[in-house]
Symmetry: D2
């Protein structure tokens, strides 16, 4: 709904019954700037094609496998080919699929966590840089306008020097052995083969890590992680408590859980510096608490003129008309799409404000390190990360 060039989007995974596919498509297309034209929507060719039919894909671009999709799209003229592909398969296949599209010169928006190992992540970075495509990772929570405002407050020094960070992400949906019921989400997320070494720490801990990193831009120095599997017979952690030490001397806590009965998607971030503190809650995303020293607490609300430019750009509708999860998700897509339109290539993340392959790699490293610490009975370990 704009004069911007409408981009052509493809998708791998996300077929029938895949909730997350719907979210990605809705988010990508929310502003009418993206058109969904091609897909390989399931690992089962039959289901893939049936799903594509449901969604109105033309037969010639309703692929049975992602390999056919790479080949088919590559064979098209650039003016017809998908501008980017969205990868929403379980984690274990991200690497192979993403690499193939990148090597075909096609930009990628990939679900998180990016891949299973830092080795894969580094290989992917190399491919992205070589082919100079846009590569986004859907850390959707950093798409919220007031998270962008939080980052602005930090950048502008309104909090002073950061001292303390508390991020938490509490869910309760895996309090029982839901994976035994055949529930699809529970099934693959508790399966090391598909999810990787992290359970809760991978699935939601990576969001928490990214949110801290996005807002504070602090690097980790070391961590001490206590991971637990509370539900008998489960193969991955369903609860994680992690102490954080940052390079600048700040301290912090990251804790996530999927056994907090009754909690839904309770992601919260608090940051305190020498001059002030902030608090944000994903389930109430249109408000940001900002507490300057010695002054009354302030409630910053989305859509107001007193907010900074990044928050304003990420806002569609006026204050008081709440925006929520889908809009934040769409903001990640919009950033990547802006980079694609601008031909920004591998390095466009900072300018166009989307989580990129480097952020994805940092997240993978974080998961590896928490698991490493936990396996050493929650020992402190080095957690420095840098891109290559």
């Amino acid at each position: 709904m704009t004069s911007k060039r409408v981009l052509r989007m493809g998708m791998v995974g996300g077929g029938r019954d895949a909730f997350i596919g719907m979210v990605h498509r809705t988010a990508a297309c929310l502003d009418g700037e993206v058109e969904f034209v091609a897909g390989a929507l399931s690992s089962s060719p039959e289901k893939a094609r049936a799903s594509g039919e449901d969604l109105g894909l033309s037969d010639d671009r309703n692929y049975g496998t992602w390999q056919e999709m790479v080949a088919g799209e590559s064979a098209l003229e650039a003016s017809d080919r998908v501008d980017f592909v969205s990868i929403v398969t379980p984690n274990d296949s991200h690497f192979e699929i993403a690499k193939a599209f990148v090597e075909a010169g096609i930009s990628v928006v990939c679900d998180k966590p990016l891949v299973h190992s830092s080795e894969q992540a580094n290989a992917l970075i190399a491919a992205v840089e070589k082919h100079d495509v846009v590569f986004a990772v859907t850390y959707n929570y950093s798409g919220y306008p007031l998270i962008k405002e939080a980052r602005r407050l930090v950048r502008d020094g309104e909090l002073g020097e950061i001292r303390k960070v508390v991020v938490e992400y509490n869910q309760g949906w895996l309090s029982t052995k839901l994976e035994e019921s055949g529930q699809k989400q529970a099934d693959w997320r508790t399966d090391p083969a598909r999810s990787g070494v992290g359970g809760a720490i991978g699935d939601i801990g990576s969001h928490a890590e990214q949110l801290v990193s996005y807002v504070t831009e602090l690097g980790l120095d070391s961590i001490c992680a206590d991971l637990t599997t509370f539900v008998d017979g489960r193969l991955l952690d369903d609860d994680a408590n992690v102490l954080l030490r940052f390079k600048n001397g700040a301290k912090g806590l990251l804790y996530v859980s999927q056994i907090c009965v009754g909690n839904e998607n309770d992601l919260r971030l608090r940051v305190w510096g020498t001059k002030g503190g902030i608090e944000w809650h994903q389930e109430d995303p249109n408000r940001l608490k900002f507490q300057p020293a010695d002054e009354p607490e302030r409630i910053l609300r989305r859509g107001n003129a007193y907010l900074g430019d990044d928050a304003a750009r990420a806002t569609r509708i006026p204050a008081g008309h709440p925006e929520a999860f889908l809009e934040a998700f769409a903001n990640v897509y919009n950033g990547a799409c802006a980079a694609i339109r601008a031909g920004a290539g591998a390095k466009g993340g900072a300018e166009y404000d989307y989580p990129d392959v480097y952020h994805g790699a940092r997240g993978v490293h974080f998961i590896e390190k928490t698991v490493e610490s936990a396996r050493a009975d929650a020992k402190w370990i080095d957690a420095h990360w840098s891109a290559n």
Copy 2:
């Protein structure tokens, strides 16, 4: 993003810089079940066409005037013609435009308040019934899932007999004479020629009235309305306090304002019966407070299995992943579209759960009556309404 038939949508009004046009298009197309194919997007033919170009309309369906659009679409085969038209112009033109499309046999989704007078409303009802088209009015706040749950609690008798209703809708954006600044929204909303007899009471009071009616299904008996224009030189009310008496003996308050400095879109509904009470707040729409007598307060949250079917159907994404304004708006469109697909005609509102032309007419009557009461120095007057 479905196997449902994708409907063809047209729009009148909502061109460049018209915020509300974007909201309607985004809402209508949110789930990929509607395609925007035709428009007469401004009262200025030049601006209309420029807007249509921005939005990618094909030239032959990018009309300069709504009259051309009625003619043009009527000339198409039914299989190409728009399935419905969305009317998002200022209030004064709703009647003429809506009537023309209805008489052309084209279903309509019209912004609120419906028209300027009960006379017009009744004429429109007659036309809708005669041509048996679907006619929806975008009382979008009743599209929220937890408003549907509130209605269910009332219907299921969980509140007992309703005794007291308090609805309020407080905004602050017209605290100063914003219409002098050239701000487009303020300009037409404070102009009796375009808005009709009601200012705040028409613009947002009608939403409040509809919300009460939707949730409680009570009819009004009489009202006493005190309307005020606080800003010097403004031509319509910017504040309204209304006492309500319902046919069943319940009492209530409806108060709305656009001079409540700092309030954004603060619509709240509270209902108490003999057995319990409920409270809902539009700016925090994913929670519904339900207080049964003698028991702890309960917080009902969108997306949970303990909610009723209507709330469930109006929900896209899981609990804790907040939905908001656009999704609720989309639910109104989806209801109307389901009725259109089913060929439900004029009477489909109840079954397909969207506000229809009767609700629109009731709202117009309410505005008329509040203004009548206020002009009689806030006298009590009869406020019964029935469809014809």
Copy 3:
């Protein structure tokens, strides 16, 4: 717990099982500046004396009737006599008892509403002025520190010219015919002989009126009151909706109810002016929302240095250590006691910041006028009040 002179307090009413007597005694004595030394604690002499024994009164000052108490205390040396008497009987006896103590030259702290009629109120004012004693009325909600801060914001012009006031006080405890159960509070409060012409409007409406008056210092011009008795067979109103017009042109709503199932003591005040708005909630009394135009909402919290002097004086313990109902109640007593120590007499209310006999008379007038309006089928009537 201070070097201030410890005052001697007497009490009429408030014996065994009388919750409110305990509240008054605890509040009066909270800071160790008042000693409870005499009482006529029940209308039954036996119960009065038994109650006094429970509470450790000496036999000679444990009176069987308030008449004996007036006589007995009057006969004592001034240095032994009670400095003030607290009257916590049902409303119907306030006038007679208060007048007797005043005429004996003894200061009075009287529960609200003050008396049954403006005629009585004016007679009491005359007596208070003639004998120049301190007379306080326990409108305890204006004792909260953040209510004092709210008044400061208004006085200092931080809200600009006041335009809109909404005060509400919703309870649910009389949703059923509790008075039939023998519950003592319900029994007398629903009995016109003891409560006067107002039910909910008298019991809690008078608090609401006083809170508005205290914070805004606006005078009423006219009102339109719709009073209802929802519970079959009840003799007084249990719900009231009142439209307010103030002398300065501001408009408002006052609504109170005792049939709001599940609400406890839900007193809320909102005030908007041309420059800002405030909101306060009695059940969360340590926070005051202040919304200046075009700026972020601010949450003012009790105990902080950024608050004004009146709030500071009314505060005992540091921010974050919540204070509540008893402390606010105690602040009314402390104001009256300060006036007594200073010999301030009838006119000390403003300087020593306690609700005085004039406030009590204004409240009685308000109750009379709402009932008068309601009996005329909710007609608008003049509501001006001035002290004599």
Copy 4:
């Protein structure tokens, strides 16, 4: 204000300008069941006596030193002697003073943390048991009615088996080097000689530990504590992040800080079990969130009939009339006083529901262990505790 025997209270410390002395006296005397009769109110005999005069102590019991007070009170008849002494001096003197009174057969209410070392704590336990006096420690936060309800929910199995505990206590008042300003509270609390080995972890961490222990009744297995001093030149920690492992396999986090700019007294407790979760916040103490699995969240509010007996007993005034810090503090005193009246001796804590010398000793052990862990660069260490 009762027929219970009024107890005679003495106090050591808490003289002029000592905020905490006022809190203890007000709390102890809140219900009129305790009379303040003797004191040694400062370590300076002159200031002690001046303070006692301010507070109306008779000369013969307004002692210059606590040693004189032990001697003086011991010399009195039992019917005149203080029933208990309240010790509110800085931590370093608790041991010596408490031991002296205990050995004189006088019951003690002592501020927390109890003493400086487990060695002292064990010696004190031995003395308390030998002389069989009542000994309470003012862990006042467990005096809140809804904390008692939280414990009941755990005890009654409403949460199932406990899996996860998060307790946090964030303050901001020591964000700058306030101790340099001469502020008395900051001065001694940051001084190892008077506060002991713990800064924030001692002052407020001990409250957090006790709250967890009181509500869950779980024993600690091991801890890993990262303590930080953020303010340059400060001698004790001002921030602590502690991982917890409980004997039953539950995991947890305890984090406290005094450098969280803008936070006041932000103590929060969350506990999740296999069947439900609870959440409580000290700054909003009249509400307890209880989330049973698969059902709507419930808000339990103080004063309602649906609460258990312990909460009911700890409640003075009806629901909706908020109680707060002082009432909770008073509940600790009332428990101890009930034990004293009943002659319950050393072991009365459980029956009369007050934190006793064993709880105090456990708290000292916790502080020692966190400091031990932190000094070993945040190593995991054993944290089992048992009374002797």
